[in-house]
């Protein structure tokens, strides 16, 4: 019965994602989701952003910014579905959905950032 749980790995991804989401997502959301579309601040525009994204450090940064928070979501959402809706019997399905989603998102981020020229 004492099966070695891989929870520690998932939990460290969850925590790391939580930290990234807490420190960085608010400012990104504010700038790109609210301030630029409403014209509160000058939109940096295509050229400037592309130049930024071409830099390898920005790529790594953006990769981390997209992937870790997805694993943060996967962990929280999984437990919220278990406990909040009491559907633990759908365990496997929920697990696959949450972590599958996080992995798909990570792959998409990797692909996009790798192929932007």
């Amino acid at each position: 019965m004492p099966k070695r749980s891989n929870e520690p790995l998932l939990w460290s991804l969850f925590s790391a994602g939580g930290v990234v989401a807490a420190f960085l997502i608010p400012v990104h959301l504010f700038l790109f989701g609210v301030a630029f579309p409403l014209g509160w601040l000058p939109d940096p525009g295509y050229q400037r952003l592309l130049a930024l994204v071409r830099h390898p450090l920005t790529r790594i940064y953006l990769f981390v910014l997209c992937s870790l928070p997805l694993f943060h979501w996967a962990h929280r959402f999984r437990y919220t579905l278990y406990d909040g809706l009491q559907i633990k019997h759908l365990n496997e399905l929920i697990f696959t959905f949450c972590y599958g989603g996080a992995m798909a998102g990570t792959a998409a981020a990797g692909y996009l950032l790798w192929t932007i020229r």
Partner: protein, 247 residues
């Protein structure tokens, strides 16, 4: 201030009732009375069949825990006047089976507590002649907070995960495991890890944090569990990177 207060008390007689109901009693509303005093008044003067547990009436024995207006409380430390003009709802601790009236069944808690070896584990006992195990004030400080637990189970009644997941070890048991893990005289952390790092140990906890808020002794079980998650994670990575170095 009115001179009486109404208490709506859960009644459940296993021989007679299919499910609990409320019965309302009037008790004197005295400034120095706690909910437990009112229950004792009812038992002595109004209805001797009302059943509930208590002993020390001073927040030490941990037996008088009940839900007071939906919050887990030690009834010997919960003043009536805080709830005036009432009525006050007194129910058995939630998430536990009810034996009768306000009395809950706690075997599950006791079994789980025993399972984490809440005592000092030594690989080898020193002979008596070698003297006592010494400890510095700092070493004692590392676990002292957790050792204040009086097993009142208020934290269980505050923990939705315990309510939903009956295998979950629960707040106090995990905090008490940490109490011994952090004790410089103890060598049982390894044995406890095998048990605690399973899903129904620490990983079921979602850090709702209510256990810490309701604890009358400031034990902070929620903090203990999160800290233990961190320790378990570090150990997990260590054993991954250095499988030969495992305990």
């Amino acid at each position: 201030m009115a001179d009486t207060i109404a208490l709506e008390v859960t009644r459940y007689c296993p021989e007679r009732d299919a499910e609990p109901s409320f019965q309302t009693f009037e008790a004197p509303l005295r400034k120095d009375w706690v909910v437990l005093d009112a229950l004792n008044y009812i038992k002595d003067k109004v209805d001797g069949s009302l059943s509930f547990r208590w002993s020390c009436r001073m927040g030490i024995c941990g037996s008088c825990g009940m839900m007071v207006n939906g919050e887990p409380k030690l009834t010997c430390a919960t003043f009536l006047s805080n709830y005036a003009p009432g009525p006050i709802r007194v129910q058995p601790l939630q998430y536990f089976p009810v034996v009768r009236d306000l009395v809950i069944e706690m075997t599950d808690f006791l079994n789980k507590l025993k399972a984490v070896k809440p005592w000092i584990v030594r690989r080898e006992e020193k002979p008596l002649s070698a003297g006592e195990y010494l400890q510095t004030p700092e070493q004692m400080d590392a676990y002292k907070q957790y050792s204040m637990c009086i097993n009142c189970m208020l934290c269980y009644a505050a923990c939705p995960v315990y309510g939903l997941e009956k295998h979950f070890k629960g707040p106090a048991v995990l905090a008490l495991a940490q109490r011994y893990n952090k004790d410089s005289r103890d060598q049982g952390a390894g044995e406890r890890t095998d048990l605690l790092s399973q899903e129904d140990g620490i990983w079921d906890c979602t850090f709702v944090g209510e256990c810490t808020k309701v604890c009358p002794k400031n034990v902070d079980p929620a903090g203990a569990i999160q800290q233990y998650k961190l320790t378990a994670t570090i150990e997990w990575f260590q054993s991954l990177l250095m499988p030969w170095g495992a305990k």
